[in-house]
Symmetry: C2
Subunit: 424 residues, 2 copies
Amino acid sequence: MVAMCPITGVAQQLSPAETDPRVLGWMEGVPPPPDKLIMQPDSNYFSFPKLRWTVCHLRELLPTEQVSRGIGAPVPFEYDLDEAAIDALAFKPMGSQETMTWQESLVANYTDGLLIIYKGKVVYERYSGCLNESGKHGAMSMTKSLTGLLAEILVVEGKLDDNARVSDIIPELANSAFGNATVRQVMDMTTGLAYSEDYSDPEADIWIYSRAASPLPKPADYAGPDGYFEYLQTVRPEGTHGDAFHYKTINTDALGWIISRVTEKEVTELLSERIWSRMGAEQDAYMTVDAKGTPFAGGGLSAGLRDLGRIGLLMLNEGAINGEQLFSPDVVASIRGGGSKTAFAKAGYKTLDGGSYRSMWWLLHNENGAFAARGVHGQTIYVDPKADMVIVRFASYPTAKNALIDPTSLPAYQAVADYLLVRD
Amino acid sequence: MVAMCPITGVAQQLSPAETDPRVLGWMEGVPPPPDKLIMQPDSNYFSFPKLRWTVCHLRELLPTEQVSRGIGAPVPFEYDLDEAAIDALAFKPMGSQETMTWQESLVANYTDGLLIIYKGKVVYERYSGCLNESGKHGAMSMTKSLTGLLAEILVVEGKLDDNARVSDIIPELANSAFGNATVRQVMDMTTGLAYSEDYSDPEADIWIYSRAASPLPKPADYAGPDGYFEYLQTVRPEGTHGDAFHYKTINTDALGWIISRVTEKEVTELLSERIWSRMGAEQDAYMTVDAKGTPFAGGGLSAGLRDLGRIGLLMLNEGAINGEQLFSPDVVASIRGGGSKTAFAKAGYKTLDGGSYRSMWWLLHNENGAFAARGVHGQTIYVDPKADMVIVRFASYPTAKNALIDPTSLPAYQAVADYLLVRD
């Protein structure tokens, strides 16, 4: 089976079925044969198709910190499955005149897990590739939205002033580009930072950052920054704070530092205390760490599919879950209010035209008031208040860019919302 | 407060209170100051007093694999606390004429967690140092007893022949010292292996093994074995199999390979499937892995205190817990039958005189029929069938050797058993 690109009609090199990690046998066998090993640091574990195994096994390659669910009983979801009807839903991908079914869209997007919650009940749940119901999957940049949520909670509670200068909270960042930015500019990623993610340039900042962030011991001749916090102090300014949306992960690492400084807790600990241990989670989550034990606030979370469903419900229901209010409704109201559309438009996200970014959440500003957490390779928590619906997708799409995944995802989510709204 | 050695009366250099990781502030602060960092590979994270932090944080330094509890509700313990009476119990440490109280023994042994279960209910539970009720602690060589338990289950179920030669199951080991040993000799550690643990000799096998087992990338000029399984193939014979008990961790790594080959499952997966997901565990456990993802069957487990209490109850109650029989009573009967006392006596364990070792469990062969899982720095699961009692201790004693910890531990356990037997 060879999957076709739904936009160009060109055959993709390797289909989801061909790259299923169980089919390819990564790390299977006792011991795995040499050509099936995925190891640090040689075998490029985040390249396709290896990444289809790696996204479920990050802790086996990297040191991590637990995000504890506590030790009480989880609160299971109620179910009202409607999977056959949803599988058959048809929609037109962005830029296409051909229709595609929901079921086909799961394949097109190399989906590892898909959960749909409607009126608080699970109506659809599927696992594929490396994932099952008791497994965890890399959340990638959806991590940012949880860091942003924690920050917004602190702002609403008056514990963090989003108008403060970063240097007032983190003096160590005074001489960096972050120093004279406001906390809000960091939260909404409108800072002006010299930080290039040109992967083809070996001198690009992303590589300096990656070397700093790696938990592996540094080479003897290494003289660069060690860890997220040292790296952040080296970031130089570029452009004007507040002028435009620039999606740069280092903002979230800075925000992680800010909320940890304010609360005297690591992001993992705060996330457990405020959210994970109070939402009826079934599984602990975890975050990767740098060599000094700092959690990767910008992308390090791995979690279970249904637990991210609980996060989606919390956002949908303005901080309430299982009859408990975990944080003020003002938190979600602030996020749903959105960021600057003008600043966002300058970033030129074609699949998110008219949107904005606030507190590390993506606002679609569509009729349904939808907003989302998003991560590379197809991760999303998609919250649709009008349809009373949450969709969570874990995926291992061959390339990182969500611009390639949105055309077969965002219209599909809308089709499910449309169906549920007329169903009952 | 300076602790005295209960045997010599000499003041120990740093007391438990002085070396409490919360007092020393290891890894505290955002970021931790340089002198409070515990990092790979430089800062000797397993040396005292750093180890008092490290024993609760191994996953933050090393890649790990989950031992899943599943996603259902845990089965909480019932409580019938009797802590004041137990704290006041007095006993004479081995070789001492002075009495010591139970409470004093906790301090003498740098105890991080202590659980006593009597007639199925928790009568005593304490946390200290780095541990709390939702934390996990390194089990050290208690891991061996879980690997041995899994092997014994497979033997009783007819899935593993303990009379088979290791080479019949693992052909890769045919040319090693393990090849012509029986599975039973591996399980009972009566193999004859050339393997020295002389830490002062830089050419000692323990160092070659440690380099092989490290999950960190190997140096460019490294030409030795990579991983547990490659190392095991290099082990040369010394002496005669079956002749004497030689406590060598590599037997357990070989046993892990054997049970994984027989079941086609990693030890982590089998432990979850057969035990952890079925005993009402509150927390997932985890195991450290080598660079190829092989779990450290000889010592890699970290778990919660009460979950190891559940393991103790399973052993006490011959495979039953929460009204379910997880494995045949014959498994515990085989272990309690003990190994060769003659072979054991040759190893000269002064604090375990008259004991034996079977399927990676330590048999005391005392009047109470007590047997135990034991790990360096003071870890134990102590099962006393006569007293219907389980004691679990996590500790971070300054030196590894349990021979220094037994004098203030084994008589203390007996004193609790004696008290409970007459109490009701």
